[in-house]
């Protein structure tokens, strides 16, 4: 049984990145756009871990990925709080209809 290669992981991360980009561009619901951001962050994490495993051999990539996960948690908390505030002010969370910060 042959091992999975570095390029397999890189191709998969590229695919996940492009799908997250598509979600950010094409979705209209703000929560779905945040899900696209999560997909992109996961793609970056896969690259960090793959390079750490196949190329450097240090745990530096693991530490960067851990920081990215913590930042993703902070970003999701603030983003979803903003979504809730926007919903209370505008009564919907369509990303096109929300273009002002105060009403």
């Amino acid at each position: 049984m042959n091992e999975a290669l570095l390029t397999d992981y890189l191709n998969l991360a590229a695919l996940l990145f492009c799908m997250g980009l598509f979600a950010i561009i094409s979705r209209r619901n703000t929560v779905a756009v945040l899900m696209g951001v999560e997909l992109i962050l996961n793609a970056a994490n896969i690259n960090f871990i793959a390079f750490s495993h196949y190329v450097t051999g240090h745990v530096d990539g693991h530490i960067f990925a851990a920081f990215v996960i913590m930042l993703a948690a902070a970003e999701a908390a603030v983003g979803l709080a903003i979504v809730l505030v926007v919903y209370r002010n505008f009564r919907n969370i369509n990303i096109d209809s929300v273009s002002t910060l105060r009403n």
Binding site: M1, N2, A4, L5, L6, T7, D8, Y9, N11, L12, A14, L15, L16, C18, M19, G20, L21, F22, A23, I25, S26, R27, R28, N29, V31, M35, G36, E38, L39, N42, N45, I46, I49, S52, H53, Y54, G57, V59, H62, I63, A65, A66, F67, I69, M70, L71, A73, A74, A76, A77, V78, L80, A81, V83, L84, Y87, R88, N92, I93, N94
Partner: protein
């Protein structure tokens, strides 16, 4: 009946498309990759936002399997604990707070067909450029890759050589906590004033 048929066919199409798009010989890698990409297809295509969030869970589990295969045991645990246990539950809460029964905001409509085709072409083109770059670049891959526990090494590095980013992250998390409470609390006060 017809809707269920269409749903089943689209799930089948997503699985077939993800198995065509993912490369790799290793059967375990292939299975995890198909699960991950099928979940990502669900995230970007499903009109129902709750189902999209559940598909995101499939993607997160697939990525956790990749971490295990790459010898990142602590990161796999983080992935399951933080992403699936924290972020996904928060997303589901946000979805359920912002949906009203029978309204459009629940259904998450996509934009017009021209925007969809344009963005699909943009992202597909970017994907093929990236694949091309990955295929033509030669990476200095190490011959031997021992897999062991990484927990002690990560802990040592976080409190010695990476201590400043660690402290910055700590301050950032505190700011996030306070900022989130301030954002939500102002609204609650405003609602109480409106009620009284």
């Amino acid at each position: 009946m017809k809707n269920k048929l269409i749903a089943g066919l689209s799930v089948l199409a997503a699985i077939v498309a993800s198995s065509l798009l993912t490369t790799g010989e290793h059967p375990f890698f292939r299975a995890a990759a198909v699960a991950t990409v099928t979940g990502a297809f669900g995230v970007i295509l499903l009109p129902n936002i709750v189902r999209a969030a559940l598909c995101l869970m499939l993607t997160f589990f697939g990525v956790a399997i990749f971490y295990v295969m790459l010898g990142a045991d602590l990161l796999a645990a983080f992935q399951v604990l933080v992403y699936i246990g924290g972020i996904l539950v928060m997303i589901l809460f946000a979805v359920m707070f912002t949906q009203r029964r029978g309204e459009q905001s629940y259904l998450n409509p996509s934009k017009g067909p021209l925007t969809l085709i344009g963005s699909a072409a943009l992202c597909g083109g970017l994907y093929f450029i990236l694949r091309r770059i990955i295929a033509t670049t030669s990476f200095p891959v190490r011959p031997e890759r021992p897999i062991g526990s990484t927990v002690q090494a990560i802990g040592d590095h976080i409190v010695t050589s990476h201590v400043i980013p660690f402290e910055v992250i700590a301050v950032l998390l505190l700011m996030t906590l306070v900022g989130t409470v301030v954002l939500i609390k102002k609204e609650i006060n405003a609602e109480e004033d409106a009620l009284s």
